[in-house]
């Protein structure tokens, strides 16, 4: 029975950064991840990471851009913390070995990104997330005496003591099916977002909202769940992402008539307006008949010098070739908005603490909130690292005052029974498989809870989710084995996804205005008087989740009209 000061669930950028920070503070650390850490979805982050590190840039400018990007829903105290800490974090990464792009003088070089008033995005070609993730993993290997890694262990439950404090988790070793209790003085959730709730999505198959649902189920409060980002440039059909770096390097968006339509929607920033603005512009072009017949517009990367593309956008050259059959250095590629990121998540303070004692959340699973209604490109890596570090440090200092908790064995037996009952399922007549239910969920979300929303669509989505929730416990399971039984994990993940989907829909129904990624065609204007506040969601038994509100923290930037 592993017992560590700090238990970290999830080993993407946020989890690994938290682990290193906690170890640095002298805590013993366990990192549990359902995939090998370098497979975590942070690996797919392409374009870069923002920081006001140039002497002629300021953290205030970065903070303002972030707040404006958030449509004034971001909490400004948290945003200040993040933007002030960003330059030192970049240097920490550089010293740890990240191969950041250099300019001709050998110093760190930047590229432009959406919604930013300066070129402040640091990058490694278009594999920035991969480069940082692999370097952090190098550091985890280096500090193996302080950080125990549990790779390919699936967390089934968070454990609470009688007082409601989170005292660890129960996890299943995917390799042999064995359950194990992880006791911890503090638990940090870093399980990432919930993109698989949508079909298509840019997110990997592992991104199933596990942490959001697990925390929600033990009573943690969620926030801003309606804020789901659609990335402007995804391939039609499979939803694969073309990095914003392409537009940062100078690529244009064109409609079927060959018009550079962003001139209409964002005359100053054009293609580099914030993502919600660009995605809505594309969707509007398509809805008004100026898209291509395959439901797309075009991204013209031939505007970028070919050598530059091959050096700095190498990954999307491969993606174009392998997944769309297009040489992006020679011809435009067809793209459309696609689900990419969830700004909302488990509500935390600036140390990553959730509303459940002993439980922290960092990265996409959390909502601090630094992204508010819309996240700027290249701010997510920053969010994971800054708040990952802060939570790791905070959790580590706290543990000195807390005795090591112990989970009663009965908890494990409950989980064992639950998993056994999934494996034993033998429904007659045969029911649908997990994948079929998941597909219906994903398509429903993508139809009704997307770039444009309205009351009718949201109600339909909610009805479908409630029906799928009834169906989910009876889904057919084929695998009866114990070694790498991915079927059982899929069944548990489906439950997580349905819980998360419902909170998204309920929050979207609640917010009767348009702000950031939430655009209600039935309430098309932003309404600061009534809705400059967070929508909080908490569990309400098996009923529709409970809604409440919390204020937005404003330090020095008053809300104003948002124009790009």
């Amino acid at each position: 029975m592993p017992s560590q000061d700090v238990l970290i669930i999830g080993a993407g950028l946020a989890g690994q950064r938290a682990a290193l920070a906690a170890a640095q503070q002298g805590a013993t650390v366990a990192v549990v991840s359902k995939v090998h850490p370098v497979r975590s979805h942070s690996v797919a982050a392409a374009g870069g990471i923002n920081a006001a590190l140039n002497p002629d840039d300021t953290w205030e400018s970065h903070a303002y851009d972030t707040i404006k990007g958030s449509d004034f829903l971001g909490d400004q105290d948290a945003i200040e913390i993040m933007c002030r800490a960003a330059p030192d974090e970049i240097l920490w990464l550089e010293h740890a070995g990240v191969t950041f792009h250099r300019d001709d003088t050998g110093h760190l070089g930047t590229r432009a990104f959406g919604g930013a008033s300066a070129a402040r995005t640091y990058y490694v070609a278009d594999i920035t997330g991969q480069a940082i993730l692999h370097v952090l993993y190098e550091q985890l290997m280096r500090h193996h005496d302080q950080v125990d890694r549990y790779e390919e262990w699936f967390t089934t439950d968070l454990v609470q003591d009688a007082g409601g404090r989170c005292i660890g988790a129960i996890c299943r070793n995917i390799r042999d099916g064995r359950l194990e209790v992880f006791n911890a003085k503090s638990t940090i959730l870093a399980t990432g977002g919930a993109g698989q709730v949508y079909t298509p999505t840019t997110n990997g198959l592992i991104v199933t909202g596990d942490g959001i649902a697990q925390a929600f189920r033990i009573g943690a409060r969620l926030m801003d769940m309606e804020m789901v980002q659609y990335h402007p440039t995804c391939l039609a059909g499979n939803g694969i992402l073309i990095t914003e770096g392409a537009r940062g390097e100078g690529a244009w968006l064109l409609n079927a008539k060959g018009e550079r339509f962003m001139e209409k929607y964002a005359p100053n920033k054009l293609e580099l307006a914030s993502r919600d603005v660009v995605s809505r512009a594309e969707q509007t072009e398509m809805n008004e008949g100026r898209g291509f017949p395959d439901g797309t517009v075009a991204l013209d990367i031939t505007k970028v010098p070919r050598k530059r593309t091959l050096e700095a956008l190498r990954e999307i050259v491969n993606i174009g070739r392998d997944f769309a059959g297009v040489d992006i250095t020679r011809e435009p590629i067809h793209i459309r908005p696609g689900q990419h990121y969830i700004m909302g998540g488990i509500k935390t303070d600036v140390h990553g603490r959730t509303s459940v004692a002993g439980l922290y959340a960092v990265g996409e699973v959390a909502c601090v909130s630094v992204h508010g209604g819309n996240r700027l490109g290249a701010n997510s890596l920053l969010d994971t690292l800054i708040f990952g570090r802060r939570a790791g440090e905070h959790a580590a200092t706290l543990v000195r005052q807390v005795p090591m908790p112990k989970t009663p064995a009965s908890h494990v037996r409950d989980t064992e029974r639950r998993i056994a009952s999934i494996i034993r399922r033998n429904p007659t007549p045969p029911t649908r498989r997990v994948a079929a239910i998941k597909l219906e969920l994903g398509r429903t979300m993508n139809e009704h809870v997307a770039v444009f929303r309205d009351a009718d669509g949201l109600a339909k989505a909610h009805e479908t989710i409630r029906r799928l929730k009834e169906e989910e416990p009876h889904a057919t399971i084929d695998d009866t084995g114990s070694v790498f039984n991915q079927d059982v994990i899929g069944a548990i993940e489906l439950g997580y996804m349905l819980d998360v989907a419902e909170t998204i829909v309920v929050a979207a129904q609640e917010r009767k205005e348009s702000r950031g990624a939430q655009f209600r065609t039935d309430f098309p204007a932003r309404n600061d008087a009534d809705w400059l506040k967070h929508v909080d969601i908490s569990r309400n038994g098996t009923d529709v989740p409970h809604v409440s509100y919390s204020p937005v923290t404003i330090t020095r930037w008053e809300p104003e009209e948002r124009k790009y």
């Binding site: 070995g97 480069a131 990997g204 790498f484």
Partner: protein, 367 residues
Amino acid sequence: MAEYTLKIRRADPSRGVVAHWESHSVELRESASVLDAILQVKDERDGSIGIRCSCQQGICGSCAVRINGKPGLACNTHLEEAARRDNGVTIQVEPLGNMPVIRDLIVDMDAVHWKKIRRVTPWLLAKQPVPEREYVVPHEAMVDVTQSMACIQCGACVSDCLSMEVDREFIGPAALAKAYRFVGDPRDGEQAERLYDLSNDPHGLYDCTHCFNCIDACPKGVAPMSQIMRLRRIAGSDQKIEDRNNGYRHEQAFVKNIRRNGLLHEADLLPDSYGGKMHPRAVPELIRSLPTVLTALARGKVTLFKALGHPHKAPKEVRRIFDTIESRPERIELNLYVSGIEDEPLRAARTDEPTPIHLPPLEEDAE
């Protein structure tokens, strides 16, 4: 849409299920991926098929398998392309080689791949003193190591490494490419120590046999073998590390042999690798190689005349190539990461101005 026969190699050693082929018919567009086909079967017919996968865009490195005999990612291998390696309709998918199978298409990466990665001290040993701001290093150097940084740790190269097949302890292509990522990084302070270590490891740098399998296998253009050769050039030519495996001397003997003979003259290679026929190091090696020589003679692979005589003499052109390359002030490393740009010149990795290779015009060959 087209119909394919998907044959999956399945096994579950924990339940005594031995490896066997299972066939499924799938209908998908030609440009769909092998992973799409596997997931179609897994999602709709049999959820017990074991395969690691996540991103479906060739970046997470989870889904490396062997497809019709060639290792690669299932998610970025098109069905049509895969089927073309066979009869146009059959796609055989099996787990990676050189690693134990856990179940179906899932292998034990930790027991082999990650163990080898850990062997090469896989983290930056930062050059001291650490600057207050960033290290100032050439743009080209960062692009250069980014090629090995692009490795997604999928294990495809490990799967088909021929040297590893005969020497399980060989550090192997992925881990050595990872080693180059630090040796080539001007911010690392212990390059010499790393190279000394890797050269002297009997399963290290000089264990690679240039079979090119890893270059073919790599889905990300990392070209592990090229990184291994770079490590050798820096260890040998630059740092003059005389390893106990005799790797560097062997390489020098090879060069000398070709310069002299134009074609490889095997009989000279071994003694030269040990410092010449009369060198005290060479004598025991020559005696030890006698059985091999005798077997070769007996089977007619070598004749006595060939073994002792010098059937070839290098033509002038060969010598001229050597002279030209060796007279250059600096070695040119072609950066393969930014290559293949037909309308722009290739850049040298470590110099500002690329020096194209110009050989002096050949005189009419008198011989």
